[in-house]
């Protein structure tokens, strides 16, 4: 008998990442379209405004910050990660050397890389929107801060990554063994119930007050837990062709 092929999990994951990063690229183009549509819809309203009246001066600021762009990227990451776990994508994995574990690890890497690119896309949309406004709207700009601080960059990355991880976990839960499916359904219903009856019980104020860096560390830790759980579930999952 010919000698058997012995490829390590790492090699397979690397190969899968190499191909997936190219084949899943349309999700990034949908982020650009999404950002552009929303950028256009909320073209001149900015993310917020503030007004002051002093000494017969009525001053109004329209503030352009990253809130909307981040909000969109986060939703995008969540939905994209769920899409990565859908049937069509899972079936494609079966046509090459893979296991559910290797595919999920590869998806994890893809989500992280795409989250990083998403931050750049988000920043690009922000600056392009400002450029369009500066040409079309005859109001001067005040530049409070133009440059993403490294910690802010890290925070944006980590929160996008976090929601991608949650999406991946969510998608994997519903493809996993029956007890995990039921557990997830129960958890989702419980969370919705809590949200409806007492929305104030979820208080993120403490988290927001943390410095950017600490916040990123928190997000990344939760993301790491979600990724690990997703991989663990994938390792237990059968191939479901439905």
């Amino acid at each position: 008998m010919h000698s058997l092929t012995n490829l390590s999990l790492k090699t397979i994951v690397k190969k899968q990442v190499k191909w997936k990063i190219k084949l899943y690229i349309s999700s990034l183009s949908s982020l650009i379209i999404l950002q552009s549509i929303f950028g256009f819809l909320f073209f001149s309203s900015g993310s917020g405004s503030s007004g002051y009246g002093q000494q017969n001066l009525d001053l109004n600021f329209t503030i352009y910050s990253l809130d909307m762009h981040l909000f969109l990227s986060v939703f995008w990451a969540f939905i994209s990660a769920i899409i990565f776990t859908t049937r069509a994508y899972r079936m494609d994995d079966l046509s090459v050397i893979s296991s559910r574990t290797s595919s999920t690890i590869a998806n994890t890497v893809i989500i992280m890389i795409y989250s990083l690119i998403a931050v750049f896309i988000m920043a690009s949309t922000f600056y392009l929107q400002l450029l369009a406004i500066s040409f079309l709207k005859n109001e001067p700009f005040i530049i409070d801060n133009l440059i993403f601080s490294p910690t802010l960059f890290m925070m944006c990355f980590s929160i996008i990554c976090l929601f991608g991880a949650i999406g991946l976990l969510f998608g994997n839960c519903f493809k996993g063994p029956v007890f995990i499916k039921s557990l997830t359904s129960f958890f989702v219903m419980f969370a919705v119930f809590i949200l409806i009856i007492s929305p104030d019980s979820i208080n993120l104020k403490g988290l927001i007050m943390l410095p950017n860096f600490m916040m990123s560390v928190c997000y990344l830790s939760v993301a790491a837990i979600s990724f690990s759980l997703a991989i663990w579930i994938a390792n237990k999952s059968e191939v479901s062709r439905t």
Partner: protein, 236 residues
């Protein structure tokens, strides 16, 4: 609660709808939009964004710049000393640096009636009288001193409208200015929601402070000012 729900869910539904449309469309566009072309578009988009950033960083000349915290602190302490001088009726704080406009009027006789009209929001500046030996009799020099007005880290002194000062029938009229509406766009490459929550607890005072502008009427020593509304304060 319902407002928050609507605010969160409407964009969410909109995003979902866009996603579904995109996925439907992507089936038909896959022939043209190969991964290679998509990568080129994404790289192009990021490059364009970077160019836009470079434009703002190097070529965009903003008429207004945000003051650094140290500058703001300095101005704040200066304004505090102005207030002290004013309370001591000492005109030495009214330096040339702060003069924004001067009017000169001639009148006959030894008395000058001053009529102050209050409209709308009322008068937003103080009126001070100073006997000045350098001024000849029958002449009044009115100077408007504008002190820094700091709003959200910006010195808005230049945007404060001038009062309306005129003289008819040997009487000086002072009227508040018409409201000046100004809107600016601010670029804040940060997260508003996070900044907002943090600022509330951190530095509430720094965003807004000012000291009333002063309209100074300089007249010769023997002139009598008829203060019709009782709004003029004497200053040495």
């Amino acid at each position: 609660m319902t407002a928050i729900t609507a605010l969160l869910f409407i964009p969410f539904i909109l995003i979902l709808v866009i996603f579904i449309i995109l996925r439907k469309l992507s089936k038909n566009t896959k022939k043209f939009w190969t991964p290679k072309r998509i990568i080129i578009v994404i790289a192009g988009y990021i490059t364009l964004g970077f160019l836009a950033f470079l434009y703002f960083a190097f070529f965009y000349e903003s008429k207004l710049t945000v003051l650094a915290n140290s500058e703001i602190k300095q101005l704040e302490s200066e304004l505090k000393s102005l207030q002290r001088y004013d309370q001591e009726y000492n005109s030495s704080y009214l330096t040339k640096d702060y003069i924004k406009n001067t009017w000169e009027f001639k009148f006959e006789g030894d008395s000058l009636p001053v009529s102050i009209q209050e409209r709308g929001n009322g008068l937003n500046f103080d009126i001070r009288l100073r006997y000045n030996d350098d001024i000849e009799k029958g002449k009044a020099v009115i100077s408007y001193y504008q002190f820094p007005v700091i709003i959200d880290g910006l010195n808005m002194a230049d945007q404060i409208p001038l009062p309306i000062v005129y003289m008819t029938q040997e009487q000086l009229f002072i009227e508040p200015p018409l409201e000046n509406k100004v809107s600016y766009n601010r670029i804040k490459a940060s997260l508003g929601i996070v900044d907002f929550n943090r600022e509330v607890d951190l530095e509430p005072s720094i965003s807004l402070f000012h000291y009333s502008s002063v309209l100074l009427i300089d007249v010769a020593r023997n002139t009598e000012l008829e203060d019709l509304q009782g709004r003029v304060t004497y200053i040495r």
